[in-house]
């Protein structure tokens, strides 16, 4: 059946659930594109035939193929666009540097898009207010207290706080840190907020 491969792509994304990025299915895309090419060629020859020899019974087939072509295009665009939205969410979650495991799942063009998006966002944030701008990827949750208790989930190395003190973030150590400094580390999974 036509369009099956394209639907398969969409299903694959759908099965992954929220926010997860499966590996880029280059093979699937290639197959859909090939199917489209074949459909298009068949259509063209049929159109020629219908025109020259006046075979009007071919017209419904042509219309059907045309519909399939549109459907394929729509599916591929949806697949790619949905992946972009997921990649975009990753920028907000992980900051400007993505973990290698995720980069591995992206194709070269997606990386390019990501870099460009990063740049646009950075330009936008820099242009806000004063000369330094405002990092709006911070302060995601409303602040409840100034300092929070955090536990280290992995070795992160040294970490400097505002007043210049340097602390060592070792696995399983607990610290009492300013909230605005560790929000990003929490989202990256380095620290865990201890709620007692």
């Amino acid at each position: 059946m036509f369009c099956e491969k394209a639907i398969e792509l969409i299903k694959e994304l759908h099965r992954m659930g929220d926010g997860q990025l499966p590996a880029f299915n280059e093979e699937g895309i290639r197959q859909v594109l090939e199917e489209m090419k074949a459909l298009y060629q068949q259509n063209q020859s049929d159109v020629n035939e219908a025109k020259c020899e006046g075979r009007s019974e071919l017209i419904p087939t042509i219309k059907f193929r045309h519909g399939c072509l549109f459907r394929n295009q729509r599916c591929i665009a949806a697949y790619l666009y949905d992946r972009l939205l997921r990649i975009r969410a990753l920028r907000w979650e992980y900051g400007s540097v993505l973990p290698t495991a995720i980069r591995f799942h992206m194709c070269a063009e997606e990386l390019q898009w990501f870099n460009q998006y990063k740049k646009s966002l950075a330009t936008y944030m820099r242009s806000l207010g004063g000369e330094e701008g405002l990092d709006i990827t911070q302060d995601v949750k409303p602040p409840k207290s100034l300092y929070i208790e955090v536990r280290c989930l992995k070795d992160h190395g040294e970490f400097e706080i505002d007043d210049g003190t340097v602390i060592l973030l070792k696995k399983n150590s607990q610290h009492f840190l300013p909230r605005w400094k560790c929000e990003q580390l929490i989202r990256q999974g380095v620290l865990e907020h201890v709620v007692s």
Binding site: L33, Q73, Q116, L128, D139
Partner: protein, 294 residues
Amino acid sequence: MIGTMPDTETGEENCMEENLQRVRKGDVKASVHRMEIDRIRFVLSSYLRSRLQKQYEERTRIYYILLAISQTMSDELSEASDLSADDNQDVMTPAELIAKLEEAWLNEKFSPELLENKSEIVECVMEQLTHMEENLQRVRKGDVKASVHRMEIDRIRFVLSSYLRSRLQKIEKHFPHILEKDKSRAEGDPSFLSPQEFAFAKEYLANTETYLKAVALRHMPPNLQTVDMLKAVPEPCLDSFVFLRVKERQENILVEPETDEQREYVVDLEEGSQHLMRYRTIAPLVASGAVQLI
């Protein structure tokens, strides 16, 4: 006022306690002395307590004075920036400014479409924030008032970030429609997007189009190489329902029918009342500030 602190008492008490240890058990003297020690200890701790109390009060008083000073300073600041921005505008105090920001934030958070940009407010608040941060730098370490101010800064920054974030999210979600609307607005009308947001939206559109083209569209048959973004990307749903509180009394608001069986009707919105209505009906009122989304 707190007097200077004499520091010998505690020593004396310890001394008496030691003496008491040496007295043999069951001695009448001992209990008399014990009583004496307890009395002295009570006086001592009560003295120390009252000193602490006074210190605390003094500190609080100083804090309020400093707060008032910073308030007046920022008053002047916002006055200056307001005057330079718009001469006809009334002078805004920081409290009013923050209230305005919160209003804009809530409206933006709950409305399905992008509202008019409030870049003056954003700029003023940013200025305020840097100003407050500067003030904080001057405060010495471990001061009580520093952490209170820090908290305040954090809260304001959260509201501001959240406001800008929700705008940016809407732009990303509906970028073709927003750019289209911006293109079709009449000459001289204020844009819904701030210049920075406009630049961002344009880059986002160009970037996404380039990407789609590079990965798939250019491999497709010639008649299918473009995707109409206006059709492909969802439009903001203006028929979604929103909660609102009425700030200025409104009469004769026309509510359009939802289904074919219903008929349109007219409602009056009393000041202070709260409603759940479709956004489309009250969109102009949100824009004019007559109602507040909650």
